[in-house]
């Protein structure tokens, strides 16, 4: 027979545990959001720097159009184009890595909180429910271990 007062106390305790878990979940979400915002900030800063750098280089680039040698002009244009392609690829890689790192940090925070929350919930359940109550509400039969002969 389960003692009703014990049951009420256990219920309050369980509720308190659940609220604690939820509070910690909220903290983790807040931390993840902060990391996400930081990541967005860093990305935006980097994009601005990339645009600034591109503008700076295009302004400082000596113009080859004034050359009378058509081959030199074409060659210069092709080299410029190749450089631009490589720069775009490198910039894209940098932004992708920053975004991926930022996402990975957020995912790490959320996953570690999820794992902790599951452990905490398990502990709260174990604490709230007396160990002799089975799922069907009946007292679990005692398990007897039969000694076995060695093979």
């Amino acid at each position: 027979m389960v003692n009703p007062s014990q049951s009420v106390n256990g219920g309050f305790s369980f509720l308190t545990d659940l609220i604690g878990i939820q509070m910690r979940n909220m903290e983790a979400i807040q931390q993840a959001q902060q990391k996400m915002l930081e990541g967005i900030g860093v990305l935006a800063k980097r994009q601005t720097e990339i645009m600034g750098g591109t503008l700076r280089r295009s302004v400082s680039e000596p113009s080859a159009v004034t050359s009378s040698d058509i081959r030199a002009v074409v060659s210069h244009q092709i080299e410029s184009l190749k450089t631009t392609i490589l720069e775009n690829q490198a910039n894209s890689n940098i932004l992708s890595e920053m975004a991926a790192r930022s996402s990975a940090e957020v995912a790490t925070i959320l996953q570690s909180r999820m794992m902790a929350a599951l452990d905490e919930f398990k502990a709260a359940v174990e604490h709230a429910i007396p160990d002799k109550i089975s799922i069907a509400g009946s007292v679990a039969p005692a398990v007897t271990v039969q000694p076995t002969s060695s093979p």
Partner: protein, 361 residues
Amino acid sequence: MALLLVAAVWFGSGAWAADPLGHFPVDPAQVSVSGISSGAFMANQLHIAHSAGIMGAGMIAGGLYGCAADSVSEDGVFALASLAVGPCMSVPTLLQPVDFYAQLTADLAAKGWIDPPSNLTRSRVYMFTGQADKVVSSKAIELGASLYRTLGGSELQIKFRDQDLPGAGAGHSWVTKNFGNACDANAKPFINHCGYDQAGEVLQTIYGPLQPPAVQSAGRIVVFDQMEFAPGKAGAANGLLDKGYLYVPKACEPGAAQRCRLHVVLHGCLQSAEVLGDEFYTKIGVNEWADTNRIVVLYPQAHATTVSELSSQNFLSLFNTNLAGCWNWWGYAGDKQFLTKQGVQVVAIWSMVQRLTGQGN
């Protein structure tokens, strides 16, 4: 018979533990470092971080301090692999002006994470880039030399060499007189013969005029345990191979009357003993110069770190691997101090130096 089989498997697998690194008669005031490619970046990091204790450095096909760094915070340096393979190696137009790297160095020194850069004024530096190098752009290395000039002023002695080797020039390699690939190759083992004795040039830039090299090296190679220099002996997780190598000329054996110099040589990516066997630490020409000039040569070894070897697996694991066995110059293995005296690999190599000079435990 069974015992022999067990012994054969044990030694064949390389599972035997090497002896601890010993103490040798080395003058702590004559310690220098050189390296190629990722080893050049690491040589540069060691030199700038420990400028009070390293008298000179040679950087071959690599080396611009903080090249992969994006920013500095209270817990270390935030670096990106994409900055390493992009601006530092193949897209030099995206490199920052030299003032950026000088400021980064000043910031790290202000935090006490590296020795004061003013020590560099007494240094001797050799830097090299090959005209046919298709792996690390010459501009990054030129900028590395500019940074040294900015930090060290006019007293610093820099020898910068490029574009005057035979044919198309040197590819991405440690250059020798007569061993390795064709001069303009950019392939394994990244040791090229160009009729140029780079080992001698590096050592004479640092130590001044030396005796000519021996025709054949006559000292001994000592295999030593590197694991004791890794935090928690977790070498693999931090890009360190289990064993390192030391070349000891006969004149530098324990009990020698005169103290010897110590030169640390750092291989590049895909050049450690787990890839090239003994090729790098016996064939690049340094040991022959060491024999006739009383130089003990330390060859630390990096290890190719996979995800499963990292100390913890998480969503950032892929950014922390080191699949080509490079030295850490972009902060892999989660090391935010890789540029400083607290960097895992910098600490490990410096501890080896201190052991050899008798200044460590």
